[in-house]
């Protein structure tokens, strides 16, 4: 998942290869009949390769039809102007990218505004997710009773993430919904939002961030929990023998040991914050005003909601900019992980 894992995985499969494949036969090879043995092992290798392609085959065919075509098509389209109905694309080179980034008086400001919103989401969601899920996992791991039940309850938001739960959130965020009711009943009536939390441009984005964190905590917590349960207990015992208190142990032993997991969590959340927009499409559609418009949603609007305007190329170009940004984020994340590791 992190760049680190990807790199090491790509290397890993080739390691057992030699010993599992032609290796053992090679060592057993008699000097008397080297050629025959070589031919036999070559045939074995050919057969293994043939099986390899057979096993990868279905995945490749599907990728050829659904993946290659759509990716190439999307990439080419990012250099053209088209509205979906014109019989031909109008090639414009890099104009789409320039329009999005600085040139167009219509699109560049919209992209910039959506970019700022996206940046807030990208900062807040991973940070809050880690800040909530790490302590939560630590105390859940120390709970003796009910931990199974609690873990299931905590996991509910992930399992049901989607339109049903987003509608439930909308319902409780309504002007006379449950959140306002709750605030009033605990004496925080001053925080009440008469237009609803999603109706006020100032509270809409922070509210969406809360909803996103709420749905991303479960997986993060579970990843931390598995990390905690796999920790080498002798290290923790050593720390405690050295007189480190509970807080000290968590902060200077457990937290650094779980840093690879933190990296995975941050990367996954960065990617989702950068590219995901389903929650925005369903709950706010970017509004009120453009206060919750994010780059993913802007792309979707350009692709599907701009009627006959020739914005399909722009949509593709913006999508590829998001891809580039995701790659950069992954690489930076990997570098940061290397440095501390």
């Amino acid at each position: 998942m992190s760049g680190e894992t990807i790199a090491s995985d790509a290397r890993r499969p080739s390691e057992p290869g030699p010993s599992a494949g032609g290796g053992p036969r090679g060592t057993r090879r008699r000097p008397a009949a080297p050629e025959r043995a070589e031919r036999a092992s070559r045939r074995a290798r050919l057969r293994e390769a043939a099986w390899g392609y057979a096993f990868v085959g279905p995945a490749l065919v599907l990728f050829g039809v659904m993946g290659v075509y759509t990716i190439v098509y999307g990439f080419l389209l990012s250099f053209a102007e088209w509205n979906g109905f014109w019989p031909q694309w109008n090639w414009v080179g890099l104009d789409n990218y320039a329009d999005l980034l600085w040139r167009s008086p219509v699109h560049a400001p919209a992209v910039r505004e959506a970019g700022v919103n996206t940046l807030w989401v990208m900062i807040a969601v991973p940070l809050l997710t880690v800040a909530i899920s790490f302590p939560l996992a630590v105390i859940l791991n120390s709970a003796r009773r009910m931990s199974g039940l609690l873990r299931s309850v905590y996991f509910l938001p992930y399992v049901t993430t989607g339109i049903a739960v987003y509608f439930a959130w909308q319902y409780i965020l309504e002007p006379n919904g449950a959140i306002n009711l709750l605030l009033r009943s605990v004496g925080l009536g001053s925080l009440e939002q008469p237009q609803g939390f999603l109706g006020n441009p100032d509270t809409a984005l922070p509210t969406m961030i809360v909803v996103m964190v709420w749905s991303s905590v479960p997986v993060a917590m579970l990843l931390y929990l598995t990390g905690l349960q796999a920790l080498d207990n002798s290290l923790l015992e050593a720390a405690q023998l050295d007189g480190a208190g509970w807080w000290r142990t968590q902060l200077s032993v457990v937290w650094p040991l779980l840093r690879p997991i933190t990296a995975v969590i941050v990367l996954l959340n960065l990617r989702d914050s950068l590219q995901g927009f389903q929650v925005f499409l369903i709950m706010t559609n970017g509004g009120p005003g453009n206060s919750t418009n994010v780059l993913g949603l802007e792309t979707y609007r350009l692709a599907f909601l701009s009627e006959l305007a020739p914005t399909l190329g722009l949509a593709s170009a913006l999508g590829w900019l998001l891809f580039l940004a995701a790659l950069v984020v992954a690489i930076v994340n990997q570098r940061a992980l290397r440095r501390v590791g």
Partner: protein, 305 residues
């Protein structure tokens, strides 16, 4: 619960890790001050987050059991006069059973295809040696970063050409392809943690690749397979973006689109909307809880791998 979970995973995995951890004792996990105060604070914190996790669901359930008047007036979490009428009406009036079956069809087809196709591919990536293996493997992983929204439009146009736009297969095929990166990543990790000697000795006994795959690797990777099945089924059940732009005929609607259609009606009836949401959520919750322990272990394997 957590103890049963921890014993299951590594049995077939030849001690992939944590063999040294004595079961049931976690010295570092527990505050050194085992006082009543500390335990109360922990209990309160855990309960507080449980409440936060459940909060929207509680109101969803509550609204689903309220009648029209009560839901409009706001009011309390506990319905004054709970009624099953709202759920029954929603189910009958809005053809929810048909949408339910459509969703089930799309989800089951997608999940089965993902598990079959990518288990096979991952076996090749993890075990077999053939030219281009590493390159193909990397290709599948890089796809993890291609934003869904980039391929959405080409998919719609391609399916229009192939004449499958608006059909359920037109949803299943891109869903399967879109699940490739995660499935390949997780299953390849899981297969390559299975010791190669098992495969060698099976080969000495004359077993071919398909048999080794089916009788050794698939059973040993069961937690990972179930995890991938869940990680595919849950988002597919909830999928909205592609579904919304490809389905036109109400007969083919899946639950998310049916739900969206209810929301777009001029006046939102929150009690029926929440009843519909509840109908949509319950099967996923049941599915998850019945497969939960495998899921936890499979994720564990993914992280360690």
């Amino acid at each position: 619960m957590s103890d049963t979970v921890r014993t299951v995973p590594l049995r077939g995995r030849a001690g992939a890790s944590s063999g040294a951890t004595p079961r049931g004792r976690r010295p570092g996990g527990r505050p050194a001050t085992g006082t009543v105060v500390a335990r109360t604070v922990i209990g309160l914190l855990l309960a507080a987050y449980a409440a936060i996790s459940l909060y929207p669901f509680l109101w969803m359930v509550s609204a689903a059991f309220k009648d029209n008047q009560e839901v409009v007036s706001g009011g309390h979490l506990l319905p004054r006069s709970p009624t099953l009428q709202t759920l029954a009406d929603t189910w009958n009036k809005l053809n929810f059973f048909d949408y339910f079956l459509n969703s089930l069809k799309v989800t089951v087809l997608t999940t089965v295809l993902v598990v079959v196709i990518y288990a096979a591919a991952s076996y090749a990536f993890a075990v077999l040696r053939f030219p281009g293996r590493t390159a193909l493997y990397r290709l599948f992983l890089v796809l993890l970063f291609v934003p869904g929204v980039v391929t959405l439009l080409p998919i719609v146009l391609l399916e229009h050409e192939l004449d499958i736009l608006g059909t359920h297969w037109g949803l299943v095929l891109p869903f399967v392809n879109g699940s490739a990166p995660l499935a390949v990543l997780l299953l390849t990790n899981s297969f390559s943690s299975i010791p190669g000697e098992l495969r060698e000795s099976a080969r000495v006994d004359g077993a071919g690749e398909p048999r080794i795959f089916a009788t050794i690797y698939l059973p040993l990777a069961r937690p990972a397979l179930i995890t991938i099945a869940l990680l595919t089924a849950i988002p597919t059940w909830n999928e909205y973006q592609l579904t919304r732009v490809s389905l036109n005929d109400p007969d083919t609607y899946t639950l998310p689109i049916a739900l969206q259609a209810m929301r777009s009606e001029n006046v939102v009836q929150y009690n029926s909307l929440m009843a519909a949401a509840l109908i949509m959520v319950v099967p996923v919750v049941i599915l998850f809880f019945s497969a939960q322990r495998y899921f936890v272990n499979g994720l564990m394997g993914a992280v360690k791998g």
